[in-house]
Amino acid sequence: MSQKVLDLLQAKLGSGVVETHSQFGDDTAVIEPARWREAALFLRDDPRLAMNMFVDLCAVDYLAMNVEPRFEVVCHLRSLQHAHRVRIKARVGAEDGTEAELDSLVPVWRGADWFERETFDMMGIVFRGHPDLRRILMYPEFVGHPLRKDYPADKIQPLVEFREGTQGKLAPFGPDEGMSFGRQTHDYSRGEN
C-alpha cells in the first residue's frame, strides 16, 4: 500500500476523493460514485501509478451499522512496475437496497468481469456497462441477494423439494430404514418470518 498513490489520486480528483485513511498498513481512498470510472482510468494510465493488476472487487453491506449509503464497493489494485497497492471504495445504495448502481470497471480492467458478476449476485449492486451482468455463483432462479445482512442465513430456496416426511435426522439403521439422500436434516426456513 502506498501513501503516494493516495496523494496523486487526491491531487487529480480533488473533491472526487471523499476521504482517505491508512489503517493496518493499508491505504484506502473513498471515491465519489460518479467519478468511479475516471478514478480507475487515472490509476491505470498514469505512469507514476500504473495500476495494471486488478486484484479484487467486492462489496460490504453496512446495514447493521445504520449508515447511508448502505453498500461499499471495494476494489483492490496493484501495480506490477511499482509494486504498490491501493484500495478504492465507493458508497452506493439506499437502506432498502435499491439505487445500488456503479459504473463497471470491465472497460478498464478485463479482470473485473467475474468479480463484478459475483458482487451483483451476492449483494445486488448493478454495474452499468458490464458486458454480461448475470448471476455467477447462484442459480438463475434464485431470488434475492444472499450476502446482504437482511437475507437470513438459514433460508433455503430449493429447486427440488425435499421428500415428504423427512424432517429431522434419520439414522440409517438398515437398508429399509432411513434415507441417505433427499432428507431434510436441519430446520431451515423457507423465508416466511
Partner: protein, 560 residues
C-alpha cells in the same frame, strides 16, 4: 462551566460531582464495582483509583514504597503517587486526572483485580452472571495475569436462600455492599448487612428476617458478580443468547422503563431489567414489575373464542358480525369499553371505530383493580395506560365498569365492544350482566374475566409483541418496543379492531402501525415515537447489558 481533565480530555462537571460521576456523564468509563449512580458512595472496592495530578506548584502526595529492582537484585526505595478513589474524590475546577494514561493506575487496577479473584470460585460455567460479569470483563481489560497466591481459596456458604426471590453465594461475593445500600437506601429496609471481615466477609440477612421487601430483585440487579441471583431467572438462560428490547413495564401506572430480555430462538422472555430514565424510575424497578415479564406468556388468549370455544379468527369475526347485527339502527345501544391495560394505539383504534363509524359515544374503561402502592416506585393504579385512555377520549371521559353494569341492568345497551380482559369488579357479576346482552365482543391479550364473560373474544398481542405507546401517571408518553413474535393467533389490537370494523362493513383499512400513527397524528401522542426521557439504552455505565453477536439492533420493525 467548570471542567476537569481526564486523560487530557476536558469534561464539564456539576457542583458536588465526584470524578466518576463527571466521567459517567461524559460517557467515560472508569472501572468500578461498588459505585452506583443511584446509591451512596462506599469506596470499598478500590477499582476506581485514579491518579490526580497535584495543582500547579504543589508537590504530589506520594507514598514511600520499596520496589524490587531485578537489575540490582534488591529492593530499592521509591516514591509512588497516592491514588484517589474516583467515586469519592470531588471535582475541583482545573483538576487533572489520569485514568488510562498512568502506569500506576494500570498497576493498581491489575492488583485490585487480582485481589478480587484470589478466593473466587471457578464457577463461570454455572454462574448466571457469565457474559455480563465485571470480573470477567475487567480481568481481560486490566489484569490478564494469573494470581500469585498458591493456597487453597477460602470456602464459604454457597446457595444461601436469602428470601423468596434471592439466592446468595458467599464465595462469589466481592463484598462491594451494593446490595446492602440498595436495601437501605432504595427499599428503606436495611435488612442486609455485612458480617465478619477480611477474607471471611459475607453478606447476611438480619436475624429472624428474610430478604422480602419490594425491591429484592434490585439487589440482584446491582450485584456486579454472580453472588446474588434471582431464583426466578437462575439457570434458565445464558445471557449471550438473549436480545434486549426497550419496553415499558406493564405492572402499574408508574411505567418504569425496562429491558425485556428474550431469546429469539424460542421466542420466550426470560427477565426484565430496569432501564435508566431519570424522569420516571431513575435506575430501579419493583419486584412486581420485574416479574411482570411473565405476563407476555402466562394466561394468554391465543386463539379466538366464540361462546367459550376455540374458533378461527375468520369464524369469530363472522360470528361477531352476526351478533352485532342491528347495531347500526341504534348506535346508542352500543357500549364501548376501552382498556387501561392496552396501548394508545389499540385504544385509539377502538375510539375511532366508535366515534367515526359506529356513532357510539358511550365510553367506559376497564382495567385491573387498585392494588398496593408505596412512596418509592409502586403506584396503586395497576394499569399502565390509565391516563392515556382518559386523555384519548377527553371529550367523553370514559366511565368505570361499575357504571356499565348498572346501565346494562337498566337496559341501556344491547351490545358491548370491548378492549382488554381485566375487570375491576366482581367477575361473576360482570358475567351475569354481560350474558344478558345480544353481542359482547372483546379484543383481549389475556384470558381474564372480561374475555371469559364475552360472547366473542379475539386474541390480541401482548405489550411485548407489538410496538405501543403508554402514558404513565406523570403524563409522560413512553414507547415500548416489540420484542417477541406474536404467539398463537394473536394479532395487534388495533389490527383486530380494524378487521372487526371491516367485518361489520366499515371501511377502516389500517394495515400497518404507520397507518395508525398517521391517523393519530393530530392527537398529542404521535410524537412519542421520538425517544423521550433520558433513555441511556444498553450502554449505561452502571449496568453491562448482554452483547449481541453483532446482529442488527433490535430496532422494532413495522409489522404489516
Amino acid at each position: 462551566m467548570a471542567t476537569i481533565k481526564i486523560d487530557g480530555r476536558e469534561i464539564p462537571f456539576e457542583q458536588g460531582d465526584t470524578i466518576i460521576r463527571a466521567a459517567h456523564r461524559a460517557g467515560i468509563d472508569i472501572p468500578h464495582y461498588c459505585w452506583h449512580p443511584g446509591l451512596s458512595v462506599a469506596a470499598n472496592c478500590r477499582m476506581c483509583l485514579v491518579e490526580v495530578l497535584p495543582p500547579p506548584g504543589r508537590p504530589a502526595m506520594s507514598l514511600d514504597i520499596l520496589r524490587w529492582d531485578a537489575a540490582k537484585d534488591a529492593y530499592v526505595p521509591e516514591k509512588k503517587p497516592k491514588l484517589q478513589p474516583a467515586c469519592q474524590q470531588g471535582c475541583a475546577p482545573g483538576m487533572e486526572v489520569l485514568s488510562e494514561s498512568s502506569p500506576h493506575v494500570d498497576e493498581a487496577r491489575s492488583a485490585v483485580q487480582e485481589l478480587l479473584l484470589l478466593n473466587h470460585p471457578v464457577d463461570c460455567p454455572i454462574c448466571d452472571q457469565a457474559g455480563e460479569c465485571r470480573l470477567q470483563d475487567y480481568w481481560l481489560e486490566h489484569d490478564r495475569k494469573q494470581k500469585r497466591m498458591r493456597e487453597e481459596p477460602i470456602h464459604k456458604p454457597k446457595a444461601v436462600v436469602f428470601g423468596p426471590t434471592i439466592v446468595y453465594d458467599a464465595e462469589r461475593c466481592i463484598v462491594c455492599t451494593r446490595c446492602v445500600r440498595v436495601s437501605a437506601e432504595l427499599a428503606k429496609d436495611p435488612v442486609l448487612s455485612l458480617r465478619e471481615r477480611g477474607n471471611l466477609g459475607e453478606i447476611t440477612v438480619a436475624p429472624g428476617r428474610e430478604l422480602d421487601h419490594d425491591y429484592t430483585l434490585m439487589t440482584e440487579h446491582v450485584c456486579p458478580v454472580g453472588a446474588l441471583t434471582s431464583s426466578d431467572f437462575r439457570f434458565k438462560a445464558r445471557v449471550w443468547f438473549l436480545r434486549s428490547a426497550r419496553t415499558v413495564c406493564q405492572g402499574c401506572a408508574t411505567g418504569c422503563n425496562a429491558f425485556l430480555d428474550y431469546d429469539p430462538r424460542n421466542n420466550t422472555p426470560y427477565r426484565h431489567r430496569p432501564r435508566e430514565n431519570m424522569a420516571v424510575n431513575t435506575y430501579w424497578m419493583c419486584d412486581e414489575g420485574m416479574l411482570s415479564y411473565k405476563r407476555a406468556v402466562d394466561g394468554r388468549l391465543l386463539s379466538a373464542l366464540v361462546g367459550g370455544d376455540d374458533a378461527t379468527l375468520e369464524d369469530a369475526l363472522s360470528a361477531a358480525k352476526d351478533q352485532l347485527k342491528g347495531h347500526s339502527s341504534d348506535p346508542s345501544k352500543v357500549a364501548i369499553v376501552l382498556s387501561a391495560q392496552h396501548s394508545n394505539e389499540d385504544n385509539f383504534a377502538l375510539v375511532t371505530l366508535a366515534k367515526t363509524y359506529l356513532g357510539a359515544g358511550d365510553l367506559y374503561v376497564s382495567g385491573r383493580p387498585l392494588g398496593r402502592g408505596d412512596t418509592i416506585l409502586m403506584s396503586e393504579d395497576k394499569n399502565p395506560n390509565t391516563r392515556g385512555v382518559m386523555q384519548m377520549a377527553s371529550t367523553t371521559p370514559p366511565r368505570p365498569i361499575a357504571e356499565l353494569l348498572a346501565a346494562i341492568d337498566a337496559g341501556a345497551y344491547h351490545y358491548v365492544i370491548a378492549l382488554g380482559s381485566e375487570l375491576e369488579v366482581d367477575a361473576n357479576e360482570a358475567k351475569d350482566a354481560l350474558a344478558k346482552l345480544k353481542g359482547v365482543v372483546t379484543i383481549a391479550a389475556h384470558d381474564g374475566p372480561l374475555a371469559k364473560s364475552a360472547h366473542i373474544a379475539l386474541p390480541a398481542c401482548a405489550w411485548a409483541e407489538v410496538d405501543g405507546t403508554y402514558v404513565n401517571r406523570q403524563g409522560i408518553v413512553q414507547r415500548s418496543e416489540r420484542a417477541l413474535k406474536p404467539r398463537g393467533e394473536a394479532r395487534p389490537g388495533w389490527e383486530l379492531v380494524a378487521r372487526l370494523a371491516r367485518a361489520l362493513g366499515y371501511a377502516m383499512d389500517w394495515k400497518k402501525l404507520a397507518d395508525v400513527h398517521r391517523a393519530m397524528a393530530p392527537e398529542a401522542f404521535a410524537h412519542a415515537f421520538t425517544d423521550r426521557g433520558t433513555d441511556k439504552g444498553a450502554d449505561a455505565a452502571s449496568d453491562k447489558a448482554p452483547t449481541d453477536k453483532g446482529q442488527p439492533d433490535t430496532k422494532a420493525e413495522v409489522r404489516a
